[in-house]
Symmetry: C2
Subunit: 250 residues, 2 copies
């Protein structure tokens, strides 16, 4: 071990700790591309992406039914740090339960996915009753509910039965590549939130936007993946301006 | 500089030196996922992906009109080596003009995209006259023409006028996100090859499969991106078997 060369830390290089799941990571990367004003390859955001899906199941660990994903997450984060990234993001909601541990251990700047999504909700659906679709662990840990809210929020959550029968099996189906089956279950869960008064919907798991969209749901959707992608692009543009200013001053 | 931690080299971790362009890299990653037998996140191929598109233009450098991409490619390769990858692949045909330089400098195992594509052509279209669509630099350097051929091949190439008026502008349009305009130009170039006797078509630039497919073209297509993705999955499965055997032996 420790046989690899060290590399230069690059302030503007975005580290993406992904692979949870790998398709959700690609969805995130597509959303970064779509949010970037670019005319040629060289205009795009420089990224180093860890897609190492051998991270123990996050929800099982939270429930006490499986090993902690933290050592695997730290190993991925250390690989990205060794590759010289200047920022770290996690395109997986549930992995954010270990956000503070990762930040403390790695000492890298990080952007929090739920903060990006809540800012987007405050902007796009101010005063809305927000339906929240997410994993069992994301809901029960209060990942969204307990973050500082840019605006007071009324939450509409799935029932326990909906979680067990629709949301968790729907997410597992998407991860297994069975998109049609996943979409059916998750659409039913979304419609239940709508019937109980949600007038906008937060997709608080990166598997959800793979099968749900605003057109199909008929109500405003806050896609946490997309919100994080836009936050990354804004960060990168600011970083590039700072580097250009620094270059002029030098 | 040199402030990042060293990490452990992992034999089974696939390093993807991408970003040329970023959308073509995502197409490659999707093809790796599609070619992987997986029921859950943890079954997928572990990858570390460099999508740092600030690599100087490969075709311009080959023509003598721009700086060499080699220092930037080496820097990306060194980041991936520092992150501990055990294999390196380049989902960009033209970047393979610097394949030997990268392999010599980095000392990592690598899979060659043209070898993967030529093996696929020999398997799927034995004896076919192969039309080749690729950048000016890929064609003129003989990247495909001069590789060891698994079977004798008859090549059908675009004319200089087709390269200048259709292929290069078509690829540039795809890189700029103007997919419909790119598709129009590239379809015309493909149809010209077909009229001149090509009975299968090699897509020898990773931008091409973003807009061309077998159904639209009406003749067998050898997608070099897909061939490399399948080669990576086969390598990864062999690697995992070796690790499992090693674990049992230990």
């Amino acid at each position: 071990m420790n046989d690899a060369a060290r590399t230069q830390r690059s302030a503007g290089l975005v580290g993406v700790l992904g692979g949870m799941g790998p398709l959700a990571t690609l969805d995130f990367l597509h959303k970064v591309l779509a949010a970037t004003p670019a005319r040629r390859d060289q205009d795009h955001v420089p990224m180093m992406v860890s897609s190492i899906p051998q991270v123990p199941d996050r929800t099982a660990a939270f429930r006490g039914d499986g090993e902690s994903p933290l050592p695997a997450l730290l190993a991925c984060g250390e690989r990205l740090a060794a590759a010289g990234v200047g920022l770290l993001v996690l395109p997986c909601n549930t992995a954010h339960l270990w956000f503070d541990d990762l930040q403390a251990a790695l000492g890298l700047p990080m952007l929090h996915l739920a903060d990006a999504a809540l800012a987007e909700a405050a902007r796009r659906a101010p005063g809305a009753r927000l339906g929240l679709l997410a994993t069992d662990a994301t809901l029960a840990s209060g990942l969204y509910l307990n973050r500082p809210q840019p605006r007071a929020v009324q939450w509409v959550l799935p029932t326990a039965v909906e979680m067990v029968e629709l949301v968790m099996p729907g997410i597992a189906a998407v991860k297994a590549g069975e998109l049609a089956r996943g979409r059916d279950a998750l659409m039913q869960a979304a419609q239940a939130l709508r019937r109980r008064g949600a007038d906008a919907l937060v997709l608080g798991c990166t598997e959800l936007p793979l099968v749900l969209d605003e057109a199909g749901l008929g109500l405003p959707v806050i896609d946490a993946t997309d919100a994080l992608a836009r936050a990354v692009v804004a960060w990168s543009l600011t970083q590039r301006e700072a580097e250009a200013t620094g270059a002029l001053a030098a």
